[in-house]
Symmetry: C2
Subunit: 118 residues, 2 copies
């Protein structure tokens, strides 16, 4: 099995052969995490509806929640205008962040600029 | 002017010295676009509250809307757990995408996987 050739031809991969994946909670629209996909990870995400990514540090595919149980059921996938980023809408089981927070952007120490006057 | 040294020390930049920026509509929480920032772009975004990015193709800073008028007023900026991605919440004037769509993910041709059974 491999990625649909028409889609493979559209993708604009980075120097490492990856596209950026922005993962959003389907219910709340909150951005949960950002990860990376190679062609195989995208293919598996589209065909299995399990959020599947490429680990840049380990150099291997990983299925989100494989060890933690915090799996993602994929509801929708969209490609951006540049074809170098996908937007993945998921039903997230448990916290999305490996630190235990609901999203990878939660926590006071992660706030760089607070809301000010409009 | 340069980026706060404490923040600069936290950032995990890629090989090109950049962090990923996911830009979200403050009102709707929709993901509008994904772009890149070097230290100076992040510094300017934090201090001016204008969405400012680094163009990988042109190798220069750009202020979103500088030519189109489709500016971004920055409401909040958060760093992720890995410190290699920022989440930027903005009030977006006009369409965020250079193709004229509201977000960079809109349009039937950008839908890779439609919603299925939960």
């Amino acid at each position: 099995m491999s990625l649909d050739p028409e889609l493979a031809a559209r993708l604009k991969r980075n120097a490492d052969g990856l596209v950026c994946a922005v993962v959003v909670d389907h219910a709340t629209s909150d951005v949960l995490m950002v990860a990376w996909m190679n062609d195989e990870a995208l293919h598996r995400t589209l065909t299995t509806r399990r959020g599947t990514y490429f680990s840049r540090s380990r150099g291997t595919l990983w299925v989100k929640g494989e060890t933690s149980g915090h799996v993602q059921h994929v509801r929708e996938v969209r490609l951006d205008c540049d074809a170098d980023t996908v937007l993945v809408r998921v039903d997230q089981t448990g916290p999305a962040c490996h630190t235990g927070t609901r999203t990878c952007f939660d926590g006071d120490d992660r706030l760089l600029l607070a809301d000010g006057p409009a």
